[in-house]
C-alpha cells in the first residue's frame, strides 16, 4: 500500500502506507480540480476567485461558466431598464453564480437575470427575501419562484443584495438570498 509524500526538500517519495501528502509552500493545479470527497481547508481558509464587475449597459449579457461561474458577480448602477444577465444553461448539478450590488447609491433602473433557455426549458425554483426600503411599515417579504415556469428574475432600483443561483440539474436553478429596493422583486416567465 504505497504512500506518496512530496516535500520541497525531498521531492516525490513513495513510502509504505496509504494516502498522499504534499508539503509545499504553494501547490498548484493548472486546470479543473474535481474532488469526489470533501474539501476541508486548513489554517489559511478558503479565498475566493476575483469578483467580476459586470457590464451595466442596456442589452443582453451572456454570462459564461468560465468567466462568471463560481464567482461573485458585481452589478453596479445600470444604464437603463433593459439590462439582462443571462445564465448559461447548467451542464451539471452544482454550478453556481453569486450576485451582489456594487452601487454607491440606490439604482434607478431595472436589471433582469434570466435562464438561457426560455419557455420553461430551464427554470428557477426557490425564494428570496426582499427588503422594501421605500416602505414605512412592514418591509420584508418572501418572493417565491413558481418552480414550474419562472425563468426570469427582475429587480428594480436595487440598493443592496446577495443572490445565489445553484443548479440542481441541467434544467433547474435553485435561488436564495436577499435584495433591497423600493420596488418588490419578481420571478416571472420570459415574455
Amino acid at each position: 500500500m504505497p504512500k506518496i509524500v512530496y516535500t520541497e526538500e525531498q521531492g516525490l517519495v513513495q513510502k509504505p502506507g496509504g494516502g498522499i501528502s504534499i508539503t509545499s509552500s504553494a501547490a498548484e493545479f493548472t486546470g479543473e480540480l474535481s474532488v469526489v470527497g470533501a474539501i476541508s481547508p486548513g489554517a489559511g481558509g478558503i479565498m475566493k476567485p476575483a469578483p467580476v464587475i459586470l457590464a451595466v449597459t442596456g442589452q443582453d449579457h451572456d454570462l459564461t461558466l468560465a468567466a462568471n461561474g463560481g464567482r461573485t458577480n458585481v452589478i453596479g448602477n445600470c444604464a437603463d431598464d433593459n439590462v439582462v444577465y443571462i445564465l448559461p444553461d447548467p451542464l451539471a448539478a452544482g454550478e453556481y453564480y453569486h450576485f451582489v450590488s456594487g452601487v454607491s447609491a440606490a439604482d434607478d433602473q431595472k436589471f433582469h437575470i434570466t435562464t438561457k433557455t426560455a419557455a420553461a426549458g430551464v427554470l428557477f425554483k426557490g425564494s428570496v427575501t426582499h427588503h422594501d426600503i421605500g416602505e414605512t411599515a412592514q418591509t420584508s417579504t418572501a418572493v417565491i419562484a413558481n418552480g414550474s415556469s419562472n425563468d426570469f428574475f427582475e429587480l428594480d432600483n436595487h440598493a443592496a443584495m446577495s443572490l445565489h443561483f445553484l443548479s440542481l440539474s441541467t434544467s433547474v436553478w435553485y435561488v436564495w438570498g436577499w435584495c433591497a429596493s423600493d420596488t418588490a422583486c419578481t420571478f416571472a416567465d420570459t415574455e
Binding site: E28, L33, I39, A50, V74, S104, H131
Partner: protein
C-alpha cells in the same frame, strides 16, 4: 500524453491518456492554488475553523494568515473603541467573513477598517441594516461611496453576516446585513 494515477494499492503509475487521478486521501500542507474551477464531491466544501475575535476595547489587527478565508466571530465588545483592521489586500480574491457571537444585543460601537487611513484602500458596495426595535420601516440600505470610505461602524450589534472580498489591491467589495437597535449609527465613513 501520459496520465498519472495514484491509488493506495498501486502507488504512482504513469499510463496512456491525459490528466491526473488521485484515488486516496490527499493532505496538502501549505497553500493550494487551482487555476481552473474547483468541484467538490459528495463530501461538499467544508469551511475553515472559525475564529472568535478579541473583544478588548482596542484596535485588533487582523491578518491574512489568521483571519482571511475564514468566518470571524465578533463577540460583545468591551467598550466603544473596538476596531478590527483588515490587512491591505495583495491581490483580488482575498476574503473575510464576519458574524456576531453575541448572546444578547451588544451596547458598544464596533468598527471594521482598512489598515490604510487615507482612503487609498476603500470599501465599495452596500449592506442592509435591520432595525430591530423599530415599528415602522425596519430595513435600510447602507452604501459605501466607493472612493474614500474605509470604515464600517456598527452600534449595539445584535446579529450580522458581512462579507469583504477584494477586487484589487485597493478595492474591497462589501455585502451582507447587520441587525441592531441603533440603525442610525450603522454607516460607512472615512478614517
Amino acid at each position: 500524453m501520459p496520465k498519472t494515477t495514484h491509488s493506495d494499492e498501486k502507488g504512482l503509475v504513469t499510463e496512456a491518456g491525459g490528466g491526473t487521478e488521485l484515488t486516496s486521501a490527499v493532505t496538502v500542507t501549505g497553500a493550494l492554488a487551482v487555476t481552473g474551477p474547483l468541484y467538490p464531491g459528495a463530501g461538499g466544501l467544508m469551511a475553515a475553523t472559525p475564529i472568535v475575535l478579541d473583544n478588548a476595547d482596542e484596535t485588533t489587527a487582523l491578518t491574512y494568515a489568521a483571519n482571511a478565508g475564514r468566518t470571524n466571530i465578533i463577540p460583545a465588545a468591551a467598550g466603544n473603541s473596538k476596531v478590527y483592521t483588515i490587512p491591505t489586500p495583495t491581490a483580488a480574491g482575498e476574503y473575510y467573513h464576519f458574524i456576531s457571537g453575541n448572546k444578547v444585543a451588544d451596547n458598544n460601537v464596533i468598527h471594521i477598517k482598512t489598515v490604510t487611513t487615507d482612503g487609498s484602500v476603500h470599501f465599495n458596495g452596500s449592506i442592509m441594516q435591520h432595525d430591530t426595535d423599530q415599528t415602522g420601516a425596519t430595513s435600510i440600505a447602507i452604501f459605501a461611496n466607493g472612493s474614500s470610505n474605509d470604515v464600517l461602524q456598527m452600534d449595539d450589534l445584535e446579529a450580522c453576516d458581512l462579507h469583504f472580498l477584494s477586487a484589487s489591491t485597493t478595492d474591497w467589495y462589501v455585502w451582507g446585513w447587520v441587525s441592531s437597535v441603533h440603525d442610525a449609527a450603522t454607516a460607512f465613513g472615512n478614517s
